[in-house]
Symmetry: C2
Subunit: 466 residues, 2 copies
């Protein structure tokens, strides 16, 4: 999956880029190109010809105009933490890094919003919001380093998605540079504004293929005064699934309802020694936030739902430190699984919530069939699961088996009425699968849409809209 | 504002339409054409050449293909309750009525969603959801007759928007017919699905200019067990604005936070005799839903905020009947104002919430300047206000003064960092204003986007994207 279909960028273009942003922000040395050859997606590797770090919107526009004039690909990149090879320069060209555009421009308490440059990290935004008594809800696993620009480009989710939704639900407006080099402003600071097509939400999740984000306005919500968490162990995911159904059936929309299967429990416990029950078939992490009485009531309902579904044990965290341990168990699942093999492929499918347990059971069957070790964890409340394969990346037979495993898992998700990606995106990694999810008329429409934003086809070619 | 730029549809096209959907569903008689010449927008009137009532998606596609082949405009229409002349056939052609596609296909309690045809009324959906213990939150004023297709096409709001959001937040998937006659399915039944561009949200609010909706899947939420409402009277909207700021500052996101100015209070009381305080300068209707303790706490906070802001009187509704009266006061504001003159123009602008009271005061100045009677009511929580002018529609001087009034109000909204339409839409009514809100590059992009969906330019010409 390493590949380049375009030739090197010629020196004349490099000179023009240097003129546009300053020579020190245009890097063509081998070390820099290697550093930007990969994102967090295993098995994808392609060096860009040049890495450009613009400092202003005008510089971004200048770079895009140069690229458009010369037909050079432009891959906008935040921290490169995406898991679908959305920021790998598969067609070479320019990686446009948001590193220098990392200013948090404004937090408005009265309007409950923030205005940021794309290179601001998710955690920096969340911290600034918290200082104003507000919450920025999306909290993807990589939030300490991931950027808001990347979060918007991939519509990132997180552990609070059930109650709070995903990045899409918080983007009020953007400033963006089209593939023509034109600068547009979509939406703005208003919660309600229907003047024109909803270009703001169209840009969310467009993975850098329609425009380069240069400024983002996000809505913030009042910070909930308290939060509470609990954990339940079950003999099987089917039991945990019944608990989830009971929670939802009780009319609750809790902030957090996450699960780990037996493989993940074992890996996390070996890695972090948090005292998890290694004998359990499934772990359910549940939590809610809000006023204290409301949180207590929600936790009590969830404890009862877990017990009624036959949980082996249910406990609630008596204090913040214990709650943090529970969240850490969920958050460290990927690093814990990564220790089991040199190759860890974290995947992302969604199924209708009532079919979650069935999906996990059938993923187990698939893994047994291909002989690949697969742990499954994810967001039980919205049916979004992350089957994760671990293997020896140096063994071509194992790598091939991992591919076969995921081919079957993607098909399973579609067969269950689900999708090939719930929150990680398409990128280069799943483009070949898109025709299994979307019909030809929609794929053709997407190509026409991309052409409307990017007539020269320079923005992240080989990804969405290609 | 009555106008037609295209000629009549020729008989050959009418014959093909009859072949496609059956002769009885193709109407060209004068009475039918007159009946479909207007929607709920005053001052806009244009008869279509033919009214077609397809019964299936395949028939919709056939009609669109015929129209595309002959360059005939197609105006998709639900109940025609929109307030921006979005469904007036300004260019003649076909009005495509959703009347016959009014089946509620499914309500899934386990997946918390409903699948409906576009002609289902908002109330029918809400009632079916309630029967399953679920809530469909958007509740536009016209909900008893408005259709879901129209709600999606205009991104309709309602009285619960502050807490629950608008139609956009509930559309999970669509089936739609492009201007080519091709049928696509966007999104689906999943809360999280990022496989492809977010065409679902792009279609929301696109006012029939990109595609004709033929099926819609909406998310439902657990029905809140209780709701409570209260009313506060203030000497001025500035006082009411301070109460709103205090409510928001206290970390509350209540379901309802609506206001009426003195003109609206007087009109409603004269019309409905609900016992409102005619001497007040502003009325604030507040309410929340959820668990009883949570509702009580929210109402107590809002009562305190109103008192602290200098309210003349604050009361909470002791029972459902009283609460319904309060909501009726807000809901009947438009009909009450309508009795004051033969012409009532309900408008829709948004400003940043902290500038609401200032906006209302300056609208008062504008109305005094033009000599037009203007009442203002709306959604205090999100800065979306509905200045409403009443005049003698037979007096050209008064009609001209109404236009001058709104020109100044739109400019005021923009000057305050707001927008020309918060929830009603652009349609034919505000198309001329769009260049004041969006820059030329974005308008040009919108035209390219429309062409991607509708290469022949037949879907609702003279509206968004034109």
């Amino acid at each position: 999956m390493t590949g380049r279909t375009a030739g090197a960028v010629d020196e004349q273009v490099i000179d023009r880029l240097r003129d546009a942003v300053g020579a020190r922000w245009v890097r063509t040395d081998a070390a820099t190109r290697r550093a930007y050859a990969r994102d967090a997606t295993p098995l994808f590797d392609a060096e860009p010809d040049v890495v450009v770090q613009p400092g202003t919107t005008a510089e971004v526009a200048a770079v895009v105009r140069i690229a458009a004039a010369h037909g050079v690909p432009v891959v906008a990149r935040g921290a490169g933490t995406n898991l679908c090879a959305a920021t790998v320069a598969t067609h070479g060209g320019i990686v446009l890094s948001a590193t220098r555009m990392d200013r948090l421009l404004e937090v408005s308490e009265a309007e409950q919003l923030a205005v940021v440059q794309p290179g601001v990290t998710t955690t920096a935004l969340a911290t600034a919001a918290a200082a104003a008594g507000l919450l920025y809800p999306p909290d993807p696993g990589s939030r300490a380093v991931s950027t808001i620009g990347g979060n918007v480009a991939t519509c990132a989710g997180g552990l609070r998605g059930l109650k709070y939704g995903v990045t899409r639900n918080y983007v009020l407006g953007t400033e963006a540079v089209l593939g023509t080099g034109e600068i547009i402003r979509t939406g703005g600071r208003l919660v309600k504004d229907v003047a024109g097509y909803d270009l703001t939400r169209l840009l969310v999740g467009s993975e850098g293929t329609l425009a380069v984000l240069t400024e983002i306005t996000v809505a913030l919500v009042p910070a909930p005064p308290t939060a509470g968490y609990g954990v339940a162990y079950f003999d099987s995911l089917a039991d945990a699934g019944r608990a989830v159904a009971a929670v939802v059936g009780a009319g609750l929309v809790p902030a957090t309802l996450e699960f780990l299967d037996a493989t993940c429990i074992e890996a996390v416990e070996s890695h972090a020694g948090l005292g998890l029950d290694r004998g359990a078939g499934a772990l359910l992490l549940f939590g809610d936030d809000g006023a204290p009485a409301q949180v207590d009531a929600a936790l009590a309902t969830m404890v009862t739902a877990c017990r009624d579904a036959g949980a082996r044990a249910v406990t609630t965290a008596p204090d913040v430190a214990t709650a943090e341990d529970l969240l850490a168990a969920r958050r460290c699942t990927l690093p814990a699984l990564s220790r089991l093999g040199s190759l860890t492929v974290l995947e992302d499918v969604s199924v209708p919530r009532p079919r979650l347990a069935e999906a996990v059971a059938r993923i187990g069957d698939i893994a047994r069939g291909t002989g690949v070790r697969v742990g499954v964890f994810g967001h039980a409340g919205d049916g979004n699961l992350h089957p994760t394969a671990v293997a020896d990346g140096q063994d071509p037979a194992q790598v091939a088996a991992v591919h076969r495993t995921f081919e079957q898992i993607f098909q399973l998700a579609l067969d269950l009425g689900g999708t090939i990606t719930g929150e990680h995106g398409v990128g280069a990694a799943k483009l070949a699968w898109l025709p299994r999810r979307l019909d030809p008329a929609q794929l053709a429409l997407m190509r026409r849409l991309k052409a409307a934003f990017d007539p020269a086809g320079i923005l992240n070619p080989g990804k969405l809209g290609s």
